[in-house]
Symmetry: none
Subunit: 230 residues, 2 copies
């Protein structure tokens, strides 16, 4: 299970080390020398995890974390903070803004990888009972209602679960087999292509509130719920 990991670190040597590590762990590093560059890169690809240096030129790590966590598009991305040695204070502040873990420099590659693995595992798409809103569409698990632009959208059980999953994990591409795992559950003797059909039904239902383009096809990969139109 490979993941895209964004490395935000201004010191080239450390960044190189991090990237190497990530590659060896079977993941794919994306490098950014500053918070600004990181934000730029994220317009293209939303990473699965961010390694974020505490001290950065320009916008520092703390600010970036806060910014990311306040944006619906990025707030679900786990963040691991890289902090200088010794500052106990960091821990509190870091967790405060929503970092998921932290590593103090100097770190051992093994420790870093362990943390990455832990965080990625913990990232298990979580479907809570909280109402979710995305792009004018509102889904409430407790009342089992979906409303978009004042229109009630009628969904079958599977479509509801599918949409619930998508809204809980927006902006992320899910393969068909991932969807089968998460939405259909374990008892899957179901064909991959069945997902396509349900996607169509869901899109169809969503069209009555003008949300037909909310779920996008990523050719060769799967599907994604996104506000963007590309």
């Amino acid at each position: 299970m490979s993941a895209n990991i964004l490395v935000v670190e201004d010191e080239p040597a450390i960044q190189e080390l991090l990237a190497l590590n990530i590659t060896q762990a079977g993941h794919h590093p994306i490098r950014a020398l500053s918070a600004e560059i990181a934000l730029d890169l994220m317009r293209e690809t939303i990473p699965d995890l961010i390694l974020l240096d505490w001290m950065l030129p320009g916008m520092n790590g703390l600010e970036l974390a806060r910014k990311l966590k306040s944006d619906a598009l990025t707030k679900n991305i786990p963040i691991i903070m890289l902090t200088a040695r010794g500052e106990e204070y960091d821990k509190v502040r870091g967790l405060e803004v929503g970092a998921d873990d932290y590593v103090t420099k100097p770190f051992s590659p093994r420790e870093l990888n362990a943390r990455i693995k832990a965080v990625l595992r913990r990232r298990a798409p979580q479907m809570t009972d909280d109402p979710i809103e995305f792009n004018g569409l509102r889904l409430d698990p407790t009342t089992h209602r979906v409303i978009g632009n004042q229109k009630t959208i009628d969904l079958g059980p599977t479509e509801f679960r599918l949409l619930h999953f998508f809204m809980s994990n927006a902006e992320r591409v899910h393969t068909r087999s991932q969807l089968l795992d998460k939405v259909w559950g374990d008892r899957v003797f179901v064909e991959d292509r069945t997902v396509d059909v349900h996607i169509r039904r869901l899109r169809n239902a969503l069209s009555i509130s003008g949300h037909e383009n909310l779920i996008q096809t990523v050719r060769g990969a799967g599907y994604r719920l996104s506000a963007q139109n590309s």
Copy 2:
């Protein structure tokens, strides 16, 4: 919907962090540095939720949890355990003594808040003895009467409890097994489908005041009392 949350944690920094989080989530933290202090505080105020550190000086978290769960006064208070990372064993023991959830340190504020929210919401929907009115229908638990549009509605005991529960938790979808739990009680050998029949009888009775559509079927999920028609 604010709640009192008792935080039992001996490390001041973590306690501070927890308290901050709780406040930001719109709740009210009550702090205790030890299990003994916690017990003391609970003589004054019974909290709605307890965040309980696993390791504590003196009486540890596990013992406290066990103690609370064995006391009629406190056994219904949900408990979220805070455990050190990695101990898989904790989970079993913790849930064994009746903890409702657990969070491993270090935790992200978002995760913690999500759990708090979930546990608080999971709190058993309660049926009070206060008269309830909904959509022109009035139910009075003390006189055991139901009136809708000047018409007295005659209900059997089970139908009455069923309606009482629905009116106490309007708009919310309840599965058949939830209804069996809450309306029929704990020790039932009753089939799921039996609920359907009672729903029909209730609907039937409600139809004399024109409220036949008040209880709606949510296919694949359960039933819901709602004023809306869709």
